[in-house]
Symmetry: C2
């Protein structure tokens, strides 16, 4: 797929790399480090797209045929973005917040080459069953979800036993709305 392009994935997330690989898209990885900060006046569901755009700004000089893809994923519950949990306590707090409720996962994407830039986002609703203290403890102890926004990975144990329903794209929750990325790449 897209063999005439040189696609650069600006992310060190193994999930995003896996998704692009499974979608048959060849790419190289060039992770960027940006401060994931944003002004207060950005609507909460635009934050992920804003940060994805910020990440592509680290590539001001692209060569002909080079395309950079950046993404950012936010977990939103009760109008608040949950970041990555710093420790066991924070992870447990987040999972208690998500338990028995529906939350939003929004992944923002920015794709650009020398000539154009597109950015968009995609949102999936995720509903957790009531998680027991034992399940939350088992998950955090065994999976240490400290690199994951919202304190969980949908493809991990807690996602398999705890998520009773999603509405939208599964891959958006994992970190990349691959159906939209594919469709956008057709226009590059």
């Amino acid at each position: 797929m897209f063999d005439d392009k040189k696609i650069i994935l600006a992310s060190r997330s193994p999930r995003r790399q896996m998704i692009l690989t499974e979608a048959g898209i060849d790419f190289i990885v060039k992770p960027v480090d940006v401060l994931e900060s944003y002004r207060n006046n950005i609507p909460i569901d635009e934050v992920a797209r804003y940060i994805a755009e910020k990440k592509t700004k680290q590539f001001p000089y692209l060569r002909e045929k080079e395309i950079v893809i950046a993404a950012d994923t936010t977990v939103i519950v009760d109008e608040v973005i949950l970041g990555k949990p710093a420790d066991y306590e924070e992870a447990a707090q987040m999972l208690h917040l998500l338990s028995g409720k529906t939350h939003h996962v929004t992944t923002g994407v920015c794709i650009k080459d020398r000539h154009q830039l597109v950015s968009f986002s995609d949102t999936t609703l995720v509903e957790f069953k009531e998680l027991t203290d034992k399940e939350i403890d088992y998950y955090i102890t065994n999976f240490e979800p400290y690199d994951k926004a919202g304190g969980y990975g949908i493809q991990e144990w807690i996602g398999m036993i705890g998520v009773i329903r999603i509405e939208g794209s599964y891959f958006t929750v994992m970190g990349l709305p691959v159906h939209k990325v594919y469709q956008a790449l057709l226009n590059f």
Copy 2:
């Protein structure tokens, strides 16, 4: 998980085996071959559960602590069940049927031990974008989905680029509503 039980998965599906493994459930595999036939008077959305029950009937003599899990997945579009495509033509026909539409995937499950039996099913809506002839041809040629009900695997290329939205459980589409299996096993 469930280490005091001896769980038997009555399925040769590598997807089902992967899902149970990722959910941390230990099991052994004992595939069964049943004729996947059913009487006409069974409601279409009960067929999968009926066939799952039929599969567990192959285990009439279970020992104490043994639990058998069987499942069957049906792809339903326009009130018709799509089976496994026999050849390229049939696979292409099925994908054209699914293109640009929402269909249902129902997975039926039967779990039993010496003392009890539970069966249930779970349904997920899956919406495909309009697939191009080129995309359908690329998929069938490269993935040969002849072992897959409806002619596609959601975790494969066509699922990643073609499915724009699901409503329900992703794993139900893959072949096992693992959240319900886990919850049911807690009562065994």
